[in-house]
Amino acid sequence: MSSARVFGVIFLLLALIRPAWAEEVVLGLSRSEIPITATFNGSEILVFGAIKREAPLPEGALDVIVTIAGPDAPVQVRRKERRFGIWVNASSVRIGSAPGFYAVASTRALPQILSETEDLRHQISIPLALRTVGASEDAPDVDAFVEALLRIRQEEGTYKILENAVALDEKTLFRTAVFLPPRLSEGDYRTRIFLLRDEAVIDSYETSIDVRKVGLERWLFNLAYERPLVYGIMALVVACLAGWGASAAARAVRG
């Protein structure tokens, strides 16, 4: 092998590797905390950032994917069947873990910008966010249950595929808005940004959004789980007082 050819191969390798350090994501979030208050009605998060370059703009299309994932929890998926003329839950599959919320926003449709291997490596698309391995099953068609989970969650707005939702200006500035629905559970919402070129991830950035109940909501929730007996008795006292108060008020009104 001639030295010139070896040089050429190295150059080619360098050219392939180079983007990994030549382009970087710099991120901003409109908010890193979402307080759940008594009037919480969902919240929109603005994810924006810039792509930092130390070299001239390389060839090829540049794409950005933003994912936001809520805390994982096991989910039992049940299917109804007709038994003795009525519809009853007949079979069920336990999904080991599924995020309570998952949104994938991208500059273009995912299959166009992300190869399957890269998707597997970084676990970007929604089905990969589920852990179905070892799903306890008394049904042979686990796939149908997984599909049902994805369908139901997409319909209720907790799983979102937001294609063409990331705006990319001047191949440098990107931004997207993701609406978090009111039906939200507490926890750290893992937020990831992927920079892609030629179906491959060249840089990524990860941060988290803290979704927490605050004030009265926080207090009630903690009391209910930490001192359930006190909470139950408080619920009773509140109910009795309200009932008595209403009765007294009604008597006063009627004279």
Binding site: N41, A224, G243, S247
Partner: protein, 305 residues
């Protein structure tokens, strides 16, 4: 105006909740039923998780029953000894009911049991009441005096006790059994159980209609109170904020209902209640019989490990 419920972890319209509370309150005041049989399905419908709907429903019924029973106490239409006997049975039944509820939620069959309970009990009770009150209405139109109640097997049981307000001298076993059944249903269905207890008191125990409502409300307060605390400690499903909004609507409705009840005859009241019970029964039966649009459902809470 949206309101976020800390335990249910959903955001719902406060005015819708207030309206549901008010409607149920009117029924509670009119018929002496807790109205839970209407409340629980409505809460399901607006997206409250079933376990939270049942437990919180019980909490709300405490308030509306306190409000209702005070009005009856002033009118002296509460048979306290009878209420105590019913209550003893009720507490035992409720303890068993909460256990059954917890077990069935784990296996995913609680919705089915709840719906089946509704259909069977509402269908039977509503049907009986409708036929009986229709006959009573016809009798009163003809101006004939109602037949005197005959002594039945209830009167031959041991352990007799005098219930002065009701004018009864009967065994404590039937009221204990009625209380037990109602307590169990209260825990499983998130209802006060008035729709079972009221007819049982009238037809089985032979109590006068006037004291039935006040006495059942008295028993319901303590049983649902017990159920509230049991659910709060065993599954953390009582949402105080949800209960409070329902209570606000409910107590106002209950006062309106009590006034309406005073202006209607007992027979008319019973026919109305019978029709309502049958309507809810029919609606729930349809859900079981018609193929659901979505065959699959998700459960996050109470997943067996």
């Amino acid at each position: 105006m949206q309101i976020y419920l800390p335990i249910a972890e959903v955001s719902v319209n406060a005015f819708v909740l207030f309206g549901i509370g008010g409607l149920v309150g009117i029924l509670s005041g009119m018929f002496g039923v807790g109205g839970g049989f209407l409340m629980t399905p409505m809460l399901f419908f607006i997206g409250i998780p079933p376990a939270v709907a049942v437990a919180t429903g019980a909490n709300q019924i405490v308030a509306s029953s306190v409000s209702g029973v005070l009005a009856h106490l002033r009118r002296r239409s509460v048979d306290l000894p009878m209420g105590m006997v019913l209550l003893i049975g009720g507490l035992a039944g409720a303890a068993l009911g909460v256990r059954i509820f917890t077990l069935l939620s784990r296996s995913g069959q609680i919705d089915l049991l709840v719906t089946l309970c509704y259909v069977v009990f509402l269908g039977a009770v509503g049907g009986l009441m409708f036929v009986e009150s229709l006959a009573a209405l016809r009798r009163s139109k003809r101006g004939a005096a109602p037949k005197r109640r005959k002594h039945n097997w209830v009167h031959s049981l041991p352990g007799k006790m005098k219930f002065r307000v009701s004018g009864l001298y009967i065994s404590v076993i039937p009221p204990l059994a009625v209380g037990f059944l109602v307590g169990m249903l209260s825990a499983i269905m998130g209802v006060g159980g008035g729709f079972i207890m009221v007819p049982a008191m009238i037809y089985l125990l032979g109590m006068p209609t006037k004291v039935v409502i006040g006495t059942s409300l008295f028993q319901i307060i303590f049983v649902t109170g017990f159920v509230t605390v049991m659910h709060a400690t065993s599954s953390q499903t009582v949402d105080v904020l949800l209960a409070l909004v329902l209570i606000l609507g409910g107590v106002i409705g209950a006062q309106i209902g009590t006034v309406i009840a005073l202006r209607l005859k007992a027979e008319q009241l019973r026919i109305l209640l019978a029709l309502l019970v049958l309507g809810v029964c029919f609606r729930l039966a349809l859900d079981l019989l018609i193929m659901p649009e979505e065959l699959y459902s998700l459960q996050i809470r109470g997943v067996a490990p």
